[in-house]
């Protein structure tokens, strides 16, 4: 009986928070009018509807606890306690209003950053896996390049950025270069090591089949490398974002990093906060894409045994 009551309580907490948040915003409507508050109310109501709709599928309410608590605290602090330096600490309703007004620019920024990131990943994967496969097979090349690669990979790719901007024809190309060169080394090293440690029995079997070199590379070694590749990508994703945002802040004229940098320069902090949230949205999009691709590419991996 006791357990039942507490579980009911757990389930109702986000809804209680939602109702209180709604009441608070309606109080603000009373002073500020409906128009500036509408986007915020729509967002909060949307989150609530989403959490009810997806209740069974994911453990949404637990996340909702945090989200609603955070928004409530922020809302109360910014609207009631810290009204003097409002421009430094904009309220959530103000930030959401930015999304309302700037929606096209924000979507454009996300698309631009996403394109740059995906292209950077693509180039790094093609080159890293390609060279990794070759160097993993040729012992001499491997012995030659592995020490070099280990030094070069440790140099943060952002260091190249100013030089890349000077050398390459456009800021965009420089950004692409920074991202793909930062991702290239770990992919290259990982592929090289995986290939040179190909399972002995599997290798012996391919030898008894007298596979052609191409078949060995394309049909055996390439799939053999994919779990390791995805592991590397997952680990590198945060550093990829750092490179992306860094590159965008250094001189590009589009993308989420540029958006934040641009408004920091003008001290429009409500837009800066909106930019932070936009970066969060971009991160979620990229992670979702990654999970989707991974799930399709690695159906053959036993997830109970191998942590992918």
């Amino acid at each position: 009986m006791k357990i039942k009551i507490s579980s009911i309580l757990y389930r109702t907490i986000p809804h209680i928070l939602f109702v209180s948040l709604l009441v608070l915003s309606l109080l603000q409507v009373h002073t500020k009018g409906l128009k500036p508050m509408l986007p915020f109310i729509v967002l909060v109501a949307g989150l609530e509807v989403l959490s009810i709709l997806l209740y069974k599928k994911w453990e949404i309410p637990a996340i909702m606890d945090i989200i609603f608590t955070f928004i409530t605290a922020w809302f109360v602090y910014a609207n009631y306690l810290n009204t003097r330096v409002a421009f430094l600490f904009p309220a959530p309703n103000v930030v959401v209003e930015i999304f309302w007004g700037d929606v096209l620019l924000i979507i454009k920024s996300i698309v631009s950053s996403f394109k740059l990131l995906v292209l950077g990943f693509f180039i790094a994967i093609v080159l890293g896996v390609g060279f990794g496969l070759i160097c993993g097979n040729v012992k001499r090349l491997r012995n030659m390049l592995l020490p070099v690669a280990e030094i070069l990979s440790a140099i943060p790719a952002l260091v190249y950025a100013p030089y890349a901007i000077a050398v390459l024809p456009s800021f965009w190309a420089a950004g692409l270069f920074v991202i793909s060169s930062g991702l290239f080394w770990p992919i290259f090293i990982n592929t090289m090591k995986t290939v040179s440690n190909l399972d002995k029995e599997l290798y012996d079997y391919t030898r008894t089949l007298k596979l052609s070199k191409w078949d060995l590379l394309y049909r055996v070694m390439l799939p053999y490398c994919t779990p390791g590749l995805f592991n590397t990508l997952t680990m590198q994703i945060s550093s990829a974002f750092m490179l992306l945002i860094g590159a965008e802040m250094m001189g590009m004229t589009s993308g989420v990093g540029w958006y934040v940098k641009y408004y920091v320069d003008f001290s429009v902090y409500k837009k800066v906060l909106a930019g932070f949230i936009t970066i969060g949205i971009l991160v979620s999009i990229v992670n979702a894409c990654m999970t989707l691709v991974k799930r399709r590419a690695l159906v053959w991996v036993d997830t109970k045994r191998q942590n992918i």
Partner: protein
């Protein structure tokens, strides 16, 4: 000499050491060496190589498979010297060596494709047929990780049979399979090989399981100290049956003889004991 399918003449082999050099010391502690090994396997014969671990039985198999080249001596198949791996020999490995990214059927298809060109439909049908033979009907769409060890080894046997090679080389194929499945797989192999009457396959089978060797083989080569220590013909008629052979008088005498050889304390085992003392 023409009935000899496989012939080894004074074959010696050492694995290279860590520096990649073949060391010349005659150090018996180094595993998997063989020295002046000679034997023949007749066409259609099932020969088991047994012996303690590190006696060189797997090395011998890898040399016949062409995966290693002998330091000296010669190996022949059909009186032709072995030059690397070939599609006339199919190998089954202890840990199945299936491609984990291919479904069971694709694994079989991949093997077939290397030996003959078939149309897609025919290829698929052939693969299905061989999966059926090893008792995996309807499991073709599963990935190796979704199959038990015994089932994975069945796939690898299906793949081997589908390639239709004259010679089968099996390196402790049932060593990693649990006891129950081992019995099932042994019976399966026995049945498959005895069924093929018009052209019997030549099999070299490495194992350390005495009963397995007796059940399956025509001849047993017992290896010890880098050499063939004893060569024994199994005094049991074909077709064999696990339950029937136990009732035969020959079986018990033969088994006793093999056990005496295998667990002879004057030989390798005492050597290993000496090593332990040395380390202590």
């Amino acid at each position: 000499m023409s009935s000899d399918k496989i012939r080894l003449e004074n074959v010696s082999f050492r694995y290279p050491d860590e520096a990649g050099k073949k060391n010349d010391k005659k150090d018996a502690a180094v595993r998997g060496q063989i020295e002046n090994l000679s034997f023949t396997v007749k066409e259609g014969e099932f020969v088991s190589i047994i012996g303690g671990s590190g006696c060189g039985k797997s090395t011998t198999l890898s040399l016949i498979a062409g995966l290693n080249k002998p330091d000296s001596g010669k190996l022949y198949i059909d009186d032709k010297e072995i030059d690397g791996p070939g599609k006339d020999r199919g190998v089954v490995f202890q840990h199945y060596a299936l491609f984990p990214w291919m479904r069971a059927r694709r694994n079989v298809e991949f093997g077939i494709r290397q030996v003959r060109k078939l149309e897609r439909k025919e290829l698929r049908a052939t693969a299905e047929r061989y999966l059926d033979i090893v008792g995996l009907k309807g499991e073709g769409n599963k990935y190796p990780y979704q199959l038990s060890g015994g089932m994975q080894q069945r796939v690898s046997i299906a793949r081997l049979l589908a390639m239709q090679t004259d010679i089968l080389l099996m390196d402790e194929p049932f060593g990693a399979v649990d006891a129950k499945n081992r019995v099932i797989l042994q019976d399966l192999l026995l049945r498959l090989l005895e069924k093929d009457t018009e052209k019997k396959k030549t099999v070299v089978f490495v194992t350390h399981d005495i009963d397995e060797a007796i059940l399956l083989s025509d001849r047993i080569l017992f290896m010890k100290g880098r050499k063939i220590y004893r060569e024994l013909t199994v005094p049991l008629p074909h077709p064999r049956d696990r339950e029937l052979i136990v009732t035969s008088k020959h079986y018990h005498e033969f088994r006793k003889e093999l056990f005496a050889l295998f667990y002879d304390l004057d030989g390798e085992d005492r050597y290993e004991n000496k090593n332990i003392e040395y380390f202590i």
